[in-house]
Amino acid sequence: MNGWETALKGLVDTLIVFVVLANMRLLGASRLGSCIRVVALQGILLGLIPLVSQGGHLGLRVVLQAAVSTVLKGIVFPALLIRAVRESGSRRELAPIVGYTPSLLTGGGLLALALWLGGRLPLPPTATSSLLVPVALFTIMVGLFMIVARRKAITQVLGYLAMENGIFAFGLAFAEKEPFLVEMGILLDAFMAVFVMGIMVYQINREFDHIDADRLSALKD
């Protein structure tokens, strides 16, 4: 391995660390706006990884994939969500079910769990970075946690997006073997979800003057 490759590998590791930090920030963020920006940043970071990780051998597929996902997750989704927040005029505080500090501690626990699980998954060795699989798992877990532990409908969309980021990272670890179509399919899925949720949030808000998912349960009968 020459110096250039070592440097690139260090860069990938650094990017992955930033993905982890973004997850932590997401768990500790108290405002909708910063949550959205963090998830967007995470998407962009993940989009950069394939560009760096191939050691300079950039195929068209890789570039396309990176470009599409970065544009969607880094620009389109956040813009949609920010619009939804603004138009719903909801309060920008998150109103968490699990407090911020406990969320962070849970995050630490989940990270350790992900590292442990990542080491035990029967997967073919990945060329990119040994950290990628655990971090992918961690991101998925954090996404789920956001869906469970926050009240607002928007945070549920964000949790969903974080999960998608995790799946994307998982795909990155096996970029050689993973069919391109699966990844695009998931991305499309997420796109539809954001789109629908964005409209729905807007509608819910018009009807009920708030976007707390909690209170939707009042509609059950």
Partner: protein, 304 residues
């Protein structure tokens, strides 16, 4: 080698009060003011040493001994911290524990002295001080473990002289960055800077460090302020030592590089203080837990 270490201790003793001066000048410059002279901290110390003292009738010898004990602990800690890629005066396996616990001793003396006044404000400051430092301790120690593992030694001097060559783009880069970030947070928290505590606030209810030393005066206060400057130097040099690669440099350029790093850190602190607001007290633990997580993440990366 010993000569270099002694010179480093002397430099720290001499230049530590300059750090708050640099921070204040940076803040003033960013706010469009001229600000106080760079040497203001020295002037203050000189003046305080020549002043009369007032002791509360409630206090006992604990209050009078507190500042001296705290300063003594910090001075000894200064002999353990390596600076500018040179070994410290006192270096042995496990010296990082002595360092952490000497800081603890300084805090213990300060807090008991504050409680000796019987004032509810100082009680409040003492309570906050121990709360936040209890949360900062794991961040510091776990960060040190990560570095110790990377360097293969449990001595601060070994750790800092061996890790300096690992420049940041190479293998240990992310680990060192994470630890440096965690130490940065610990540095801000332990030194009562924004976003943890506002050194310039005028409302006692929101203070942490300033309210602890509310009743001290004269030479005692001078000891405390000098101690605060030393603490800024100590924890600052831990963060700077990671970030500034000086490996292989001869002593004098390395020293200059280290000093430049320290004052750069002071400027950065000033910038942070000018651009951020103080956190609400209930949010402070969150940031400290975050710093612990950074250290833990670094450690997990080293272990993985």
């Amino acid at each position: 080698m010993i000569v270099v270490a002694v010179v480093h201790v002397l430099l720290a003793l001499l230049l530590a009060p300059l750090l708050p001066g640099v921070i204040n000048r940076t803040k003033a410059a960013l706010a469009g003011r001229r600000g106080q002279p760079l040497l203001q901290a020295y002037f203050d110390l000189g003046k305080l040493l020549r002043k009369d003292v007032v002791y509360s009738t409630t206090t006992t010898w604990v209050f009078r001994a507190g500042p001296s004990a705290a300063l003594a602990a910090l001075l000894v800690a200064l002999a353990i911290v390596p600076f500018a890629n040179a070994r410290a005066l006192l270096a042995f396996p496990g010296d990082l524990l002595l360092f952490a616990y000497l800081l603890g001793l300084a805090r213990f003396s300060l807090v008991t002295a504050a409680l000796d006044t019987g004032s509810s404000f100082e009680g409040m400051g003492a309570s906050r001080e121990v709360t936040f430092s209890a949360l900062a301790e794991p961040a510091l120690l776990l960060g040190l473990v990560a570095m110790a593992r990377e360097a293969g030694s449990v001595s601060l001097s070994d750790v800092y002289t061996r890790l300096a060559p690992v420049s940041l783009v190479e293998g240990g880069g992310p680990v060192l960055l994470l630890v440096a970030a965690a130490f940065g947070v610990v540095y801000l928290a332990e030194n009562a800077r924004i976003p943890f505590d506002d050194p310039n606030t005028h409302l006692e209810l929101t203070m942490i460090h300033e309210v602890l030393i509310l009743d001290h005066s004269g030479p005692d206060l001078a000891f405390l302020q000098y101690g605060a400057a030393l603490k800024l130097w100590l924890l600052g040099s831990l963060a700077v030592g990671i970030l500034i690669p000086l490996h292989g440099a001869p002593p004098v350029p390395a020293m200059l590089g280290g000093l430049a790093g320290m004052f750069l850190l002071a400027v950065v602190t000033g910038v942070i203080e000018s651009t951020m607001a103080r956190l609400r007290l209930v949010r402070v633990p969150q940031l400290l837990v975050g710093a612990t997580l950074l250290s833990l993440l670094a450690l997990l990366m080293v272990l993985a």
